[in-house]
């Protein structure tokens, strides 16, 4: 790993820090590179000696945010409001107690009990629309089949077919948009479930 790769990785991993703190730390590491390069080391050697950027960033973040006494939002014995540490909020909460995890899963289960059938019903509306569109578009074929089945032919059937094809085209356009929306809703709902289940760590 060379200097710019090291610094870029470190910069990425430090993204939860306030900008001014991040840039101060970055300056420290840049200065380290400058001094070590002067002493005749290669960029690769220096990066090697500095260590893994992800772990260094973790240390910088932990050292900064580690509360002296952990504060739990559900702890009634601690009436004082927790000190506001805005950067902590940006950082995904990684650890969660077993009880909380269970509650989250139960909550998701009941929510899905309602919302999944609702989603399925939306999908069936979409499928019904698409089927009507297809039927409209294929109605000329139906007239041909009708003729061969021996039901005779008269002009009104053709006019009706023309109208049905027109309706079919409109429905096809409409169902294209509806399907796009359905896929978007389903995918984002699924991602939200995964994120909640994993405890907010599922952004990547």
């Amino acid at each position: 790993m060379n200097k710019s790769q090291f610094l870029a990785q470190l910069h990425d991993h430090l993204s939860v820090l306030p900008p001014e703190e991040r840039s101060e730390l970055m300056e420290d590491y840049e200065a380290h590179f400058a001094f070590a390069l002067q002493n005749g080391k290669t960029e690769e050697e220096i990066a090697q000696e500095l260590g893994n950027p992800a772990e260094l960033a973790k240390e910088a973040i932990d050292g900064r945010f580690a509360p002296k006494e952990p504060v739990y939002w559900f702890n009634p014995a601690n009436p004082e409001p927790a000190p506001i540490q805005t950067p902590v909020r940006q950082q995904p909460v990684k650890r969660r107690g077993g009880a909380v995890t269970t509650m989250v899963y139960i909550g998701l289960f009941f929510l899905n009990l309602i919302l999944v059938p609702l989603l399925i019903s939306f999908w069936s509306v979409g499928i019904a629309l698409a089927a009507s569109a297809l039927a409209g578009l294929l109605s000329p074929l139906a007239v041909v089949l009708d003729y061969f089945a021996g039901h005779g032919y008269f002009a009104a059937k053709t006019y009706a077919t023309v109208a049905l094809v027109g309706v079919g085209i409109f429905l096809a356009i409409a169902s294209r948009y509806i399907f796009k929306a359905l896929v978007l809703i389903s995918v984002s709902y699924w991602r939200w479930n995964v994120r909640v289940a994993k405890g907010g760590a599922g952004h990547e």
Binding site: E49, G51, E59
Partner: protein, 108 residues
């Protein structure tokens, strides 16, 4: 994580405090001095130094140098010195107790 890494991390703070107590030092100089004695990821030094400054044990000042970027020197505050002395005493006691225990174990 490797357990000896944890040992070294714990000792790093003490080493850094002692080194700064000897004389004011800048980051890269500290990295070199520390790695002469213990093998540790040098990059861990900078978060540690920031924390020491944040806790009021150190202050910093910049000094231009004829070559290279300006050097950020770290200086121990009276609180820092007090803290270092306390840590040294605790460290010695701790090492003694653990050594005694190991000694006793090896005699059995």
């Amino acid at each position: 994580m490797d357990i000896s890494v944890q040992f070294k991390k714990g000792a790093l703070e003490l080493c850094v405090l002692v080194l700064i107590h000897e004389r004011d030092r800048y980051g890269y100089e500290l990295a070199q001095s520390v790695s002469q004695h213990i093998e540790v990821a040098e990059g861990a030094l900078y978060p540690l130094l920031r924390r020491l400054v944040g806790e009021g044990y150190c202050t910093t000042y910049l000094q231009e140098s004829t070559e290279g970027p300006p050097r950020k020197y770290y200086k121990l505050t009276p609180e820092g010195e007090h803290y270092m002395k306390k840590l040294v005493i605790e460290w010695k006691q701790f090492v003694k107790s653990v050594s005694n225990l190991i000694e006793r174990g090896s005699r059995l």
